[in-house]
Structure formats: structure tokens, C-alpha cells
């Protein structure tokens, strides 16, 4: 049970949040222009990294805001938290 620093509320227990998969996957603006393969790439393909991963989380039992988290999946250390629409932090 880790602690997540919600950018709107501050530090809260993990149990208040829900994970939403890989971050920075943008829904195509013109899906009809895409081939089956290109659409499948958006729809199904996700990374599952051991190490630094960029993820979406939502404070579902709190402010209900979505935001991004940079988490090391090997030890659950959260390296950064930033709002939707903000640029991901560059490697430190």
C-alpha cells in the first residue's frame, strides 16, 4: 500500500486511488482515417515495464481528478506526479 501525492489533494493512501494504465496514449483525432493495424496499436498495445513506467491514476475516492504518475514498478517508488496535460518530467 503506497502513498500517492495527488496534485490536487496531497498525500493519500493508495486505496483512495485507481490505476488507469499507461499514460500519454492519445486517442486519435480521426479514427476513421486509421488502418486496422494503426487503430489496434492505439486500442490494445500497452507497455508493461519492470522499472520506470508512466501511468495514469485517478483519485476516485477523493477529488476524482485524473493525473500522471512516474512509478518504478520494481519497488513502487513514485518518482514524480504531474497533472494531465503537463509535460512528463525528463530523466533525472
Amino acid at each position: 500500500m503506497f502513498i500517492i501525492n495527488c496534485p490536487y489533494c496531497g498525500e493519500r493512501e493508495q486505496s483512495e486511488f485507481k490505476a488507469g494504465g499507461e499514460a500519454h496514449i492519445v486517442r486519435p483525432k480521426q479514427p476513421t482515417e486509421l488502418s486496422d493495424d494503426q487503430w489496434a496499436e492505439y486500442l490494445f498495445m500497452r507497455k508493461n515495464i519492470k522499472g520506470i513506467q508512466f501511468e495514469r491514476w485517478v483519485h476516485s475516492h477523493g477529488c476524482r481528478k485524473w493525473f500522471n504518475v512516474v512509478r518504478d514498478t520494481s519497488n513502487d517508488v513514485i518518482k514524480a506526479v504531474y497533472k494531465m496535460g503537463e509535460k512528463p518530467p525528463t530523466k533525472k
Binding site: 502513498i3 488507469g20 479514427p31 486496422d36 487503430w39 486500442l43 485517478v58 517508488v77
Partner: protein, 1001 residues
């Protein structure tokens, strides 16, 4: 017959407070302060249980939570009885009843003991190989094997005790109140840290508190006296909370820990009533200090498991703390100085020591000199090769070790004894540290794993960090604390410490024997009966990974998780396989450190609180009117309302008929309701539903289907336009929360430019749905001001109105195919409005119906239920609902997926109606649908999703999904059942009123 082995008053034992208890049906006495273990030993009882596999007699081996053997069944009654209780942990109380487990018919004559003689056929992998035995053999012995298998018995009735959970927050958590923990607690608390100190035992001070030897002194005081003063001081510190009888079960990431606080297990039974028995503490600590100490290692030699063989440190503790001698003819067997501490303590109390057998050849320390001075025989460079005595040890055979320690040489000597203390050195208790994600390193000089890399703000101190001796602890711990707590000074800077302990040790993981290994039983894991031979066999059979060897031999898989023997298992593997200990790694230590009761885990979440449920504002009326309830999501919904002893079928037939013949009434309050506002609300609906919304007039309602991005049906419901920029969306009962979540996700992450606000208002309204040909008559009496004519109030429209002074929204929408209205009022008025409807509807035989009738009525009309007729593989096209998918809209969620190569396949499973050949035959929901019964294997075409007997059509109707079903109208298919085949015909899924005449009837 039995002797009294109580030797001397100990200040930890209150001899004025006598306690009687029962063990295996016989009454014994002990004193307040005794554990069941010390009380049994004082009564000269050594045979306590039987081992798991071979049913060998076993006794008390330790004095702590690492006990593998002496586990008992506690209490006799069927609700409180508890298996696998370690006698070393339970404090005795008046009325305690314990019995040996894992033995049948009794601990003294145990049928399972035959396994000991069968042991050549019960090698490692026994469990995996068992079913390869000849079947005849298995059947013959199954009865006995079943009878004698397993550890203890579980209670058969609900637990009468109370348990609870509590959250705890602190600056610093210290685990373990031995000397290191006490020093840390005082230092931290005095420096302003809000500190919690937890200790699994009932007393503070660890093993130092009963260390009464002149050989260990601090500032010229005997170490126990010095520590006692420290303890008295910390009890006065305000920001330090001390919890005894509290054992940490789990150490998770981010310094989140679970501990069990034992509140009543030590009290006489009559004092426990209405008190909380155990409390699960959920601790979030900014910093953690682990001071869990170390566990003495046994030594691995042939027959090292007999009753009367104990860890040397346990004998020491029983003598010093409990005033109990474990035997009258004691022998100690060691590879290090620890056993000499025990020897001196016994000697000082006048307890006879026959001899000390020491693996080491050249030894020299003050402790040893004192023993020699008192003419106690020490066999230097010797090892035990065998022991004897069935229910209690009576002899040991010893031989000299070769120079390299690999063999025994010379002749065998036999010594008599009734108790053998063994000491193989110490293993730091790193279990919690590794649970937290910590990485260990192997220290070669004394062959121990110690903490190396910490994953969170924590530190290990004292012997769990490999600082074993008093002088080491008092020099290292204060320095560590200063750095960890960021402070300049401690009270422990210039102590004068006297410690006579010499650290030399001769580590031999598996002691050599004069017998071949196949002929020995050298136990590594006592509880699971895993021997050195088993481990070697596993290696011979090709297992290399420690995790595999563990599972194959079951080493370390008992309730004690192999706290004693895991290191030896590793040692034997490393020696046999020629690999280095440090490179081999360890097995994973998993929570809980010691077993937790289920009561503690569930806390107050039992009975009606096991799973929370939601009630509608009309719930009490349903209860008063004897509704049977169904769980839908978290809601309790009326399922049907049986009258005069009706069964479910009869009730549903009556309710369904009444709804179509005259009037039915349903509590629809559980449907999800989302209030949608904003200038882009219409555009938003366009994007989330498959159909078009821009042109929906104010005051009109529309049915919508929502897909996932993969094109599969996700939810459905009616949405009403209340104003220019204002809608109210209804969702399925079970889908309300996830639909809101999904909509918020898209709004925040994909379309933040849309001006749309979502509010969940499910709980704010009560919804009463009235349907049937007489529904209009009823609602127009309830709301006389409203014009209910079809011209003014057509199907799929809504009006605001009032029932008396109560504001209401009335929607004319239908899920049954009947003319019907939904009245929404503020939730608190729900029950009174419902009751009013019942009263006015009386003359029309208004009939309350539940979810089952609702499902039947909609099935007659071929309306789907998302989640029943669909799973996550059905597109709207598969459901034959092409009409609701807009061709004009450029995009909506899931649109692109509707023409992926997979979703346009003609042979996808599609929703169809099914008519049985025999109109009275009702299909089973979930039954498989096939075309050709003779084909092998039979090809499965689909399954039945909804099935009812329709009282209105007077025949069986069903919906199902069938591969390519859309093009199979009129085709005959088969539903094969266990005892028959049912012939069905594929039909249109709309069974009743295809022309929708009833909507306006």
C-alpha cells in the same frame, strides 16, 4: 508419577497466584507468568505432539514464536477452538484447555506413527508422488491417511469473539523491545519523536532482562538490572506508546505495517466477555526501527528431534525467566559460546549438567574457563551422531570430528541424559526487513544474512542486524541511532561494558555421521518433517533453485515458515551443489510473520457488515410486504413479492400477468442517474452514445447505447433533455459508478475543451415506475394537475409537476413495452409517493413486481439487459441493434472498432430469440446451443442468455447468442442437457407486440 521441575522462585513468576489448566484432559497447575510451555515442562511433560508426516513424538523445542513442534489445539468448544497454537506463546489462564493435535487416537499411542516405519516410501516429493501409487493401495489407506492428515481442527461455529481494526500513525515505529529496542525508544522519544514501541511478548527487555550473569555488565551493574532501570524510565516518557503482546505480522512498502494486538488471550475466560479479543493495527510510520533480535539455530544430526531436545537458549530462558528446569541430566551441544551462558546459569541454580559437547577443538573464553573450573566435562571437537529415547531423549552417542569437519573418527561414546540443549549459533530475524523489500547480504565470517539495502526510511539494529554481543550492541546501536534520527547525543555514549562472549564458531550445516545419509533422520524442518536426506534427494533429482527445493521437500512451508531450519537447508544445498551461500539467495519470507486468526483479519466486517449494501428510500415498504431480495451491484432490490406461500415461479407469473392486464409498480430508484450540464452537453452525448443527440428536443427522452472503445456494448439507458444545456442520464443499476468514472475520464483526459459538468444524483431521487393499460388512470389521479393526453404527454417525453407540494419529474418511458410512467421525487418522499400509488392503484389491482418480473416482461419484448444478454464481446450489430448506430456521426466511442476485420465477421455470435418445440419446456440460462449432436467433438454455437415461461404468451421464450444466428431464422437447433435434448427454433427476439401498440394502449 511426574516430577516437579520448578526450581526456584523467579521474579517473573507469581507463585502466590496458582492457575489450573487441562492438557489432554488431565488437570495440572502452574503460576501466573507461565506460558503453557513452561507450565508443561514444570510438570515434567515433554511429549506434546506428533510431527506432520512421520508422526514422530515431539516436544517443546523453543521458548518463542519460532516453535515448530509444540503446537496444540486450544479450547474444547466448537466455536472458540483454535488449532496450531504454539505452547511457547500462550500465557496460561484459569480454565485453559489444550490438547495435542496431529495424533490419533492419542499422543501416546498414535496410529500415524506407522509412517515413521514407512518412511522409506515417504521420501521428499511424497505429496507429488502419492497419486502414482497403485490405486488399490491408495483406497485401502485413504481412510487412515485422511484421518491423520492435517494440522489441528478448525472451529465449526461462528466465532463469538469481537475483533477490530485500528489505524495508527506515528513518527517512529520500533519493532521489538529487547535491549536495542529500549535504547532506541528512549533516545527517539526524548528527542521529540512520537514513538510506538511494539513487543510480541508480555514483558519488555528481551533476553537481556533475565541475564543474571556476572559476565555481562553495564556500568558495573548486571545487564538485567541496568536494563530494568532503563525500562522504568521509558514508561514515564509521554510521547512514547508501548504495546506488549503485539506482534508485527507484515511490513509492506512505504512503511505500512500490520500488527496484531492481543488483548484478552491471557485473561481467565470469565473476564473476556464483551471485550475485544484482538486488534489489527494498520500502522503508517514515518520511520521504522526493526529490533526483532535473532533466533538460535539448531544443529542438524541424526534423530535431532526427540522430546527433550531444546535450543540451548530456550533451556536458559526456562531456567532464568520461568524458574523451570527442562531436565535433571542435561547435556549441551554447541558450536559457539552461547551454550556456556546456559551452562553457567544452570550450574548456578544447582541443575545438573552431564557434559558439554563442542564442535570446536580450540576454545578459550572466560565462560569456558568457568565451566572447566567447576569440573563439567567438555568434549572438544566432538559431535553427536545419534540419540535415543522414543518419547523423551535418554542417550546421545558422540564421536570425534575429523580436522576438516567432514567425517567422524574414532570410537563412539554414549552418554545418558534426559535433556539436550543444542546451539548452532544465531540467525538474525530479518523476516520483516525482507518483507518490506529489503535486500540482504551474506556475512561469511559467521555465516549470517544481514540487512544490506533498505527500501524505505527504516533501519535494523541489534542482533537482527548481526550485532550479537552486548558490547557490540552498546557501541554500534547508539551511533546508528544518531545518524538515523539525526541527533547529536544519546544517553549511551560512555558506557563501561563487560561482555565475556567470544565470537568464535565452527559452522557445519549438516554434521557428519558414522551412518550413510540414507539411513539418517536429521531434521531440517521439524514441523514438515523435511530431513537433510530429502534435500540431498531433491538435488540429486535435479532441483537447483532454492524455491524449487523448498516446494519439493516442503522445507519451510509449515505454520512456522521454517524459522529454525531455513538457513540449514540453504547451507546443505550450497555445500552439496558447490555454490556460494551469498549467491544462492534465500527463499521469500511472506507475511504474516506469525499466523493471524481470521477474526483479526476481518475485524468488524462480519455478519451484516461483511459486505455493505445500499437500500432504496422505499426499502422498508418492501420488507414490510415480504419481498424476497436480490443483490444487484451493492443494492438490495425486491426480487419478487410472494403472496400466500407462493414460490418464486408462481409469484412471477402472477406479477407479470397483472402488469400486462392492469397495472404493475416497480421501485426503479437503483438505476444510476447522472446529471449532465454545460454548453457542450449535447456534443458530449454525441461522442459517448452510438446514436445522435443534437436534435433531441427539450422535454424529450431517448434510449442510448454506450460502447467501449473496442466496440463492445458497455451500458445502456434513457437520457432526458431537461433544458437547453441540461440532461439527466440513467444507467444500469450495476454500471452507475463505472459509467460515471468512464465519462469523467474522457472529459478530463481526451476532451478537456468540452464545457460539461457531471454529477452523480442516483441517491438524490426515488423512482417509482408504473406500467400497464391502467397506468395512465392511476398517475392522472396522483398528479391531477398534469395533462396526460397522448398529444400533450407522448411516449418518450417528460414533464415537471407536483404531487401536492412535492416536486416531481414524470417520464413516460417503458422497459416493459406497456404504457408506463416513471415518477421521480426527492428521495425522502419516495416511500410516501409509493404508498400513495398503492392506495390509488388498489381499484386497478396495482401489483408490485420485482426484478424477476421486470426481466420477464422485457424479455417478452426482446429488450436486452447489458451484462445478461451481453458480455464484453457483443457489438450493437451482434445484438441486431443496427438501428441505434448512427451512420452520420463522424466519431463516437467505439465507432472505429465496429468495422475492424474481427467485428465485421458474419459468423460472430448474434442475439436471437429461441422457441422451444414443447411450449412448456423452459430452457436453462447458460445452456449450450448446438446444431449437430453427432459431430465429434460437438461444435458449440452459443448459449442461452435469458429464459422464462411467459404467462402472457402462454409459452416458453428465450434469448440466446448463436454463431451466425442472424441468418438462421426458422432453423432448428438443439440444446443438449444431461438427461435429454431440447429442440428449439431460432426466432425473432421480439416475442410480443412487435408493432408497439401497447405503448399507447
Amino acid at each position: 508419577m511426574t516430577k516437579n521441575l520448578r526450581i526456584k522462585t523467579s521474579k517473573f513468576i507469581d507463585e502466590t497466584y496458582k492457575i489450573s489448566f487441562k492438557f489432554n484432559g488431565k488437570t495440572y497447575f502452574g503460576y501466573k507468568g507461565d506460558t503453557l510451555a513452561s507450565a508443561l515442562l514444570a510438570n515434567d511433560i515433554h511429549l506434546v505432539g506428533r510431527s506432520f508426516k512421520y508422526h514422530r513424538p515431539r516436544g517443546i523445542m523453543t521458548a518463542g514464536s519460532e516453535e515448530p513442534n509444540a503446537i496444540v489445539q486450544l479450547h474444547n468448544n466448537t466455536s472458540r477452538t483454535e488449532p496450531n497454537v504454539r505452547v511457547t506463546e500462550i500465557e496460561i489462564y484459569d480454565g485453559l484447555e489444550a490438547s495435542s493435535q496431529n495424533c490419533w487416537p492419542s499422543v501416546n499411542f498414535d496410529m500415524g506413527g506407522i509412517n515413521n516405519f514407512l518412511s522409506p516410501v515417504l521420501p521428499a516429493g511424497f505429496y507429488y508422488k502419492t497419486f502414482m501409487w497403485p490405486a488399490s493401495f491408495w483406497e485401502k489407506y485413504e481412510y487412515f491417511i485422511r484421518k491423520s492428515a492435517g494440522l489441528g481442527k478448525s472451529p465449526m461455529e461462528p466465532d463469538p469473539d469481537i475483533y477490530e481494526h485500528r489505524y495508527v500513525h506515528c513518527d517512529l515505529l520500533i519493532i521489538g523491545a529487547g535491549i536495542s529496542g529500549i535504547i532506541a525508544a528512549k533516545t527517539a522519544a526524548k528527542n521529540g519523536y512520537k514513538t510506538l514501541l511494539v513487543e510480541e511478548k508480555s514483558y519488555l527487555g528481551g533476553s537481556t532482562i533475565y541475564q543474571n550473569s556476572e559476565h555481562f555488565k553495564i556500568n558495573n551493574q548486571i545487564s538485567s538490572s541496568w536494563l530494568e532501570k532503563e525500562i522504568n524510565e521509558i514508561k514515564k516518557i509521554k510521547n512514547l506508546e508501548i504495546k506488549t503482546r503485539t506482534s508485527v505480522a507484515a511490513f509492506h512498502g512505504y512503511n505500512f505495517l500490520l500488527a496484531r494486538e492481543n488483548l484478552t488471550d491471557h485473561l481467565p475466560l470469565e473476564q473476556r466477555n464483551k471485550k475485544t479479543r484482538q486488534r489489527l493495527l494498520k500502522i503508517r510510520a514515518k520511520k521504522v526501527i526493526t529490533a526483532t533480535g535473532s533466533l538460535e539455530r539448531p544443529l542438524i544430526f541424526d534423530n535431532n528431534d526427540r522430546p527433550g531436545i531444546l535450543l540451548s537458549s530456550a533451556i536458559h530462558k526456562y531456567a532464568n525467566l520461568f524458574g523451570v528446569a527442562c531436565g535433571e541430566k542435561n547435556i549441551l551441544f554447541t558450536n559457539n559460546d552461547s551454550a556456556y551462558e546456559t551452562a553457567i546459569s544452570l550450574y548456578q541454580k544447582g541443575i545438573n549438567i552431564e557434559a558439554i559437547i563442542d564442535n570446536r577443538e580450540e576454545i578459550d573464553s572466560k565462560l569456558i574457563k568457568e565451566i572447566e573450573k567447576n569440573n563439567i566435562k567438555i568434549f572438544k571437537g566432538y559431535t553427536i551422531v545419534d540419540t535415543s529415547g522414543y518419547k523423551r531423549i535418554n542417550k546421545v552417542s558422540i564421536m570425534q570430528l575429523s580436522k576438516d569437519g567432514q567425517k567422524v573418527v574414532g570410537s563412539k561414546t554414549t552418554l545418558n541424559c534426559d535433556c539436550l540443549g543444542i546451539s548452532g549459533g544465531w540467525t538474525p530475524a530479518v523476516h520483516l526487513f525482507t518483507q518490506s523489500g529489503g535486500k540482504l547480504k551474506f556475512r561469511d565470517e559467521d555465516q549470517v544474512f544481514i540487512p544490506n539495502i533498505y527500501p524505505s526510511d527504516q533501519i535494523s539494529i541489534g542482533s537482527c542486524n548481526g550485532e550479537f554481543t552486548l558490547d557490540e550492541i552498546l557501541s554500534v546501536v547508539p551511533t546508528t541511532l544518531k545518524k538515523f534520527l539525526n541527533i547529536k547525543e544519546t544517553d549511551y555514549e560512555n558506557l563501561e561494558v563487560q561482555s565475556s562472549f567470544n565470537k568464535s564458531k565452527r559452522n557445519i550445516w549438516l554434521l557428519p555421521s558414522d551412518k550413510v545419509i540414507g539411513k539418517t533422520k536429521s531434521f531440517v524442518d521439524y514441523q514438515n518433517d523435511a530431513t537433510a536426506k530429502d534435500i540431498k534427494l531433491a538435488l540429486r533429482e535435479g532441483f537447483r533453485s532454492i524455491e524449487h527445493v523448498k516446494r519439493y521437500t516442503t522445507t519451510g512451508m509449515g505454520t512456522d515458515q521454517g524459522k529454525l531450519g531455513n538457513m540449514h537447508a540453504l547451507g546443505i544445498i550450497s555445500e552439496t551443489a558447490g555454490s556460494k551461500m551469498g549467491e544462492l539467495g534465500t527463499t521469500t519470507f511472506r507475511p504474516p510473520y506469525t499466523p493471524l486468526t481470521f477474526g483479526t483479519i476481518v475485524g468488524r466486517n462480519v455478519g451484516e457488515y461483511f459486505d455493505i449494501f445500499r437500500k432504496t428510500p422505499i426499502h422498508d415498504w418492501h420488507v414490510e410486504n415480504k419481498a424476497e431480495f436480490e443483490n444487484v451491484g451493492q443494492w438490495k432490490r425486491p426480487w419478487y413479492y410472494p403472496q400466500n406461500g407462493e414460490n418464486m415461479h408462481d409469484a412471477v407469473q402472477r406479477e407479470s400477468k397483472a402488469a400486462r392486464d392492469s397495472a404493475g409498480i416497480l421501485d426503479a430508484s437503483t438505476l444510476g442517474k447522472i446529471d449532465i450540464q454545460g454548453t457542450d452537453a449535447s456534443e458530449f452525448l454525441n461522442r459517448v452514445y452510438t446514436n445522435a443527440w443534437s436534435k433531441l428536443a427539450i422535454g424529450k427522452c431517448r434510449y442510448g447505447l454506450m460502447l467501449n472503445e473496442d466496440g463492445m456494448v458497455y451500458d445502456d439507458g434513457v437520457t432526458t433533455r431537461l433544458g437547453e444545456n441540461h440532461y439527466i442520464m440513467t444507467t444500469t443499476t450495476g454500471g452507475a459508478a463505472t459509467v460515471l468514472g468512464k465519462l469523467e475520464d474522457y472529459l478530463q483526459t481526451e476532451w478537456p475543451e468540452l464545457d460539461v459538468y457531471l454529477t452523480s444524483v442516483t441517491d438524490h431521487y426515488a423512482t417509482v415506475s408504473i406500467c400497464g393499460p391502467n397506468s395512465k388512470k392511476i398517475v392522472s389521479q396522483i398528479i391531477p394537475d398534469l395533462d396526460f393526453s397522448d398529444e400533450s404527454f407522448p411516449h418518450m417525453s417528460f414533464k415537471n409537476s407536483k404531487i401536492g407540494k412535492i416536486k416531481c419529474r414524470v417520464m413516460r418511458i417503458s422497459f416493459t413495452g406497456e404504457h408506463s410512467y416513471e415518477i421521480n421525487v426527492q428521495a425522502n418522499y419516495g416511500k410516501s409517493v409509493w404508498e400513495r400509488c398503492m392506495e390509488i392503484g388498489k381499484e386497478f389491482n396495482i401489483t408490485p413486481y420485482g426484478t424477476e418480473t421486470m426481466h420477464l416482461l422485457r424479455a417478452e419484448k426482446g429488450f436486452i439487459i447489458v451484462g445478461q444478454d451481453t458480455d464484453a464481446t457483443m457489438t450493437p450489430i451482434d445484438l441486431q441493434m443496427d438501428w441505434i448506430v448512427s451512420k452520420k456521426k463522424y466519431d463516437f466511442i467505439g465507432k472505429r472498432s465496429l468495422y475492424r476485420s474481427d467485428t465485421i465477421r458474419e459468423d460472430r455470435k448474434q442475439l436471437v430469440g429461441l422457441i422451444t418445440e414443447n411450449p412448456n419446456e423452459v430452457l436453462e440460462e447458460g445452456a449450450q446451443i448446438v446444431a449437430d449432436i453427432n459431430k465429434s467433438p460437438i461444435e458449440m454455437l452459443g448459449h442461452v442468455t435469458s429464459s422464462y415461461y411467459s404467462p402472457n404468451l402462454k409459452k416458453s421464450i428465450a434469448l440466446g447468442v448463436v454463431r451466425g444466428g442472424k441468418n438462421m431464422m426458422g432453423q432448428k437447433l438443439i440444446i443438449p442437457m444431461k438427461d435429454k435434448q431440447i429442440n428449439v427454433t431460432v426466432a425473432d427476439p421480439v416475442f410480443l407486440d412487435k408493432e408497439n401498440k401497447r405503448l399507447n394502449a
